[in-house]
Symmetry: C2
Subunit: 260 residues, 2 copies
């Protein structure tokens, strides 16, 4: 007998690449039979938006028919705005889980902080909704998400199956861009201290004025082997449990002794 709709977990899906991207479509396809899926995602690319919210201007949202029977809304906001709108104005409740992605491109190491994908997932976790962000290490528009779908399913089933999940549970899952049979397994990792060393390209516009493009070279400064960067380099899927309490407790103890 088919499980009744009201017993199914409500799965909120968002992303930062925009609602028409292949990544979010692949995420929907991977989990659509695991619950009642609803999509609320940005109407334009929002990569690198971090935890931005829209304060000084109002938001729009429109129902769209992009995923067959699955209810879907596009909004004019950031990924974080999408989660807020979904809870307050579309679902009128908290979903049982929030999934963000699948991002076109990695969100490992320090990138978790800049990533709209991960910020949407974090927003849900702050609100007490267990949440997972998924990213594939392939920036291409038509990246191949087939291997990712299996990983996504496994992770979502794991979290939905937890008896007493931490309500602030937040996982950053990055997937190497290789065929499914090349993936060695899933590794629980810490966030590497690895980052882009930025450089701006200076150019001159037709009016003779300077403008600057952000570019950068990715460098791993972290020699540890339990990092996400190490895992991905060795064809493992990396899973970093993420927190939003940014307090540096080690430094807190030191300062309590030293400061004034």
């Amino acid at each position: 007998m088919k499980k009744k709709n009201k017993d199914l977990p409500v799965i909120l899906i968002t992303n930062d690449d925009d609602i028409t991207s292949k990544g979010i479509r692949s995420l929907v396809e991977a989990v659509k039979d695991l619950g009642k899926v609803i999509v609320v995602a940005p109407d334009k690319p929002q990569s690198g938006m971090g935890h931005a919210i829209t304060i000084g201007s109002p938001l729009r949202m429109n129902k769209v028919n992009l995923f067959g029977e699955i209810e879907a809304w596009q909004t004019s906001g950031t990924p974080v705005d999408c989660v807020k709108l979904a809870v307050d104005k579309i679902l009128h409740r908290k979903p049982d889980i929030c999934l963000s992605g699948i991002n076109h491109g990695a969100n490992h190491s320090i990138n978790v902080i800049y990533s709209g994908t991960m910020s949407a997932a974090m927003e849900a976790a702050i609100e007490g909704i267990p949440s997972i962000g998924f990213s594939l290490m392939d920036y291409k528009y038509d990246a191949d998400f087939e291997a990712s779908k299996g990983i996504v399913r496994k992770m979502v089933q794991y979290v939905l199956g937890l008896k007493n999940p931490d309500k602030h549970l937040l996982l950053n899952v990055n997937i190497p861009a290789v065929a499914a049979n090349k993936i060695k397994g899933i590794k629980v990792c810490k966030q590497a201290y690895a980052k882009y060393d930025e450089e701006f390209h200076e150019r001159i516009d037709p009016q003779g004025k300077k403008y600057y493009w952000l570019t950068g070279e990715f460098k791993n400064y972290d020699k540890a082997k339990d990092t996400d960067v190490w895992a991905l380099k060795h064809n493992y899927v990396s899973v970093v449990p993420v927190q939003f309490d940014l307090t540096n407790y080690t430094l807190k103890k030191q300062l309590e002794k030293q400061l004034f």
Copy 2:
């Protein structure tokens, strides 16, 4: 004898309220004799921008004459972009310290994640520049920063005086909006689990279409007494040491045992 310019620490100042705000002017005034100050700040309000960076479009910057003898640049970017541009294109080196603010309005508790002010400071800390974000609990355009200036000076002198500062040192300083003689002291705190419970105001535009304004009521869910929210409520300045390693190590240990 006056200290030679080249011996003075280089102090980078930025904010998220925009370069013309009273808060950044007050920050400059508070520290201008403590080092060689340079201002690089957004040319428009960037509150709530979180750790957003500008990826899909180029940036502009222009030298402005707003702080007398002090070199100042306004950029078209986010607060995080400002720090990146300052290091790569203006200073061509890392400053000795980065100060962000003084923000018009609190950045305590979970707000650290949404705050452009704190994200600029965090960007500097990621780059290995000791950094402090300052916020006054007063959103008003013409807020009174007089008491804040004394706090700012004290904190900056403390960090500049450290013999071996952690190069990723990052402090989130919030100041109660009271007269200097009402401030009870400075407390080292943890980030409270306190947040806005959001609600969107739905309105109808002249074309009959819906639009939504983000609003919310601030609620403190954290009963602990060593939090920033507690300290501020009791007229203490709160100092939260902040980290950018978001790994949840407790959950990491659990997952290593449980996951697959």
